[in-house]
């Protein structure tokens, strides 16, 4: 009886834990500031060596950048509204930049977008591959039910894979992998190993969750 009661609770909790990632709102005013260190670095990169950037200037630019984000967002949103769409697309952003008289940004951004798309593609493929390798090795060491039932086990694993992949893809579409996004930007080569590890940990967690959600039903 008790187990049943618990099982009724676990599933909703699993659902609830997902929610904050989709509706991440600014809870404190500091949440709307951009990190000073990054702003400072970009500014330093923009001016020749030996030229310093005053703290006051950095604060002002950081504020300006936040306003720029809002301005660009609302311009892009206007574009989307005009076309009666609800999702901001890449073209909306480009059109918004044209409206804002920042045409000079468009060309580098287009290149960046291409890169981004390629990245996403390769990442997805790599993820799928990694998952397969991981699951195969993980189940053989951890599960180890029978030496004879190897073939059957494999088919089971494949089914498992598909289920997880679908879930992962959904996450990607919504683009709420907030934690990972921070790393995704530029240092793809440098931090990849670390990101991989984190992703693996996350996968394990989701797997556990799924098992927890499924087991009581069985």
């Amino acid at each position: 009886m008790q187990l049943l009661v618990v099982s009724e609770w676990i599933a909703p909790i699993c659902e609830v834990t997902k929610v904050p990632r989709y509706s991440k709102m600014a809870e404190r005013p500091e949440d709307l500031n951009l990190p000073q260190s990054v702003i400072g670095r970009i500014m330093k990169d923009a001016v020749p060596d030996g030229v310093s950037v005053s703290k006051e200037a950095r604060n002002a630019v950081s504020k300006a950048a936040s306003v720029f984000v809002l301005y660009a967002t609302s311009c892009a949103n206007n574009q989307a509204l005009q076309a009666k769409r609800k999702t901001l697309s890449a073209n909306d952003v480009f059109q918004a930049l044209r409206d804002m008289e920042f045409e000079e940004f468009i060309e580098p951004l287009q290149a960046s977008l291409e890169e981004f798309r390629k990245d996403q593609k390769t990442k997805k493929e790599a993820q799928e591959q990694r998952k397969k390798v991981k699951d195969n090795s993980g189940d053989s060491s951890g599960g180890g039910k029978d030496a004879t039932g190897g073939a059957e086990d494999k088919t089971d694993e494949d089914e498992d894979d598909e289920g997880i992949e679908e879930e992962e893809e959904e996450e990607d579409d919504d683009g709420n992998d907030d934690e990972d996004d921070d790393d995704d930007d530029d240092d793809d080569d440098g931090d990849d190993g670390w990101v991989k590890k984190r992703k693996l940990v996350r996968q394990r967690k989701t797997k556990k969750k799924m098992k927890m959600a499924q087991d009581p039903q069985l």
Binding site: K24, M25, A26, L32, L34, P35, V38, I42, M43, A46, V47, P48, V51, S52, V53, S54, E56, A57, A60, V61, K63, A64, A65, S66, V67, F68, V69, L70, A72, T73, S74, A76, N77, K86, T87, L88, S89, A90, D92, V93, M100, E101, F102, F105, P108, S112, L113, F116, Q120, D172, G175, D178, D181, D182, D184, D185, D186, D187, D189, G190
Partner: protein, 111 residues
């Protein structure tokens, strides 16, 4: 290794997309933000910071200070939207002076 990579690129940037998303979501009419547009806005913001500080440096050819940034905002059309966030600093003395001048002109026009 990572450092060397960053030095190669003119603006490696690396503004956190999560934060940018939070800022974007803070405006009420925004519904859904596609991954691509989020990436573009993040990159555009990096370019914007780069451009603004570059212009500020070009203004004086010296260190980047608040003053030259405010000047850039005032003079460039595309940065006009920042005029409330980055206003020119005015000394109290000058402010009073301009107030008085305005007042005097007002009184003249009134009389």
């Amino acid at each position: 290794m990572i450092k060397a990579e960053k030095e190669q690129k003119p603006f490696s940037g690396g503004l956190p997309t999560a934060r940018i998303r939070t800022i974007m979501k803070s405006s009420p009419e925004i519904d859904v933000i596609s991954q691509e547009s989020l990436h573009l806005i993040t990159k555009a913001t990096e370019l914007f910071v780069h451009a603004l500080s570059q212009e500020g440096h070009r203004k004086t050819g010296k260190d980047v200070t608040y003053k030259c940034l405010a000047q850039v905002v005032e003079e460039h059309d595309s940065f006009q939207f920042l005029s409330d966030i980055l206003p020119q600093k005015v000394k109290v003395r000058d402010f009073y002076q301009s107030l008085q001048e305005e007042g005097s002109t007002d009184t003249i026009t009134l009389s």
